[in-house]
Symmetry: C2
Subunit: 143 residues, 2 copies
Amino acid sequence: MEGLFRQYISIHRLLMKQLNELLEKYQLSYSLWQVIVYLEDKGTSTLVDISNYYQVEKPSITRRVHRLQDYGLIKEVPSTNRREKIIGLTSEGKRVYQVCRKEITTLEHGVSKGLTEEEQQAAFQFLMKIQDNIQSKEGFYGE
Amino acid sequence: MEGLFRQYISIHRLLMKQLNELLEKYQLSYSLWQVIVYLEDKGTSTLVDISNYYQVEKPSITRRVHRLQDYGLIKEVPSTNRREKIIGLTSEGKRVYQVCRKEITTLEHGVSKGLTEEEQQAAFQFLMKIQDNIQSKEGFYGE
DNA sequence: TTATATAGTTACCTAGGTTAATAGTTACTC
DNA sequence: GAGTAACTATTAACCTAGGTAACTATATAA
């Protein structure tokens, strides 16, 4: 399938542009949003957890976390372990999550417009499949 | 289709990593590769053409082009219009294109492994469709 | 108790993108 | 034909986002 990548990548640009425009209204970017999503899912987490999950180096996560702390969207939660830092969403963070989640879901629907439920499922399966293929190609990362 | 974006974006990361590793061997990155591909397709071009095609601002293209000129992969071709700069691949540039094209096509096949020809076609159609949806959402770009 | 591993941070580098301003050239219009 | 407007490429300054290497502090293992 010649040109599959070109297509894929060009869509990625468009998508990120839309997402970042949406998130900009809340002083966020997609990379900050990822941290919020992770914390909403897991409740609390260390920085290393996030680093492993998104396969992004620790210093990058430190930076994201500091930004979100400055914005008051996440906070450190007390812990007995003084080496690791446990973080979680503040109530403002949870509020922002809800608002953005809604907008992003709307955007997803807009993007999937005209595709039947079956086609969307097929698309999702397709993405899963390529992900498998890429990961098995590179001596995959575990979770 | 909740989580479609997450999936899409996480694959993009993996894909770009693979592509850049591949291109690194030739001192290239995906953004430089885009310029080479465009020139291989069109023969020659101005910087504005490339800028419009990829929807990337002109200063970014200026930088890419300078890098490729330094590497000896593209060259300026004479023109009567002294305002615009017409560029094209050097013979070394064409050679590098061929080599990388081959490797990238192999990678594409690897990624599409296990998908039937019909499924690949469906996937491509799916990508086209979302592209349309995104573009019509944002007061599209021409070309 | 000493050595090793881990969590987070800091400093510095790279890639890549953007906007705003500018020089030079071409095209338009009166 | 002269003057204005539009366009091409470039530069400078700035931003996001990632990476590596080196360091501090803490926890774990031997």
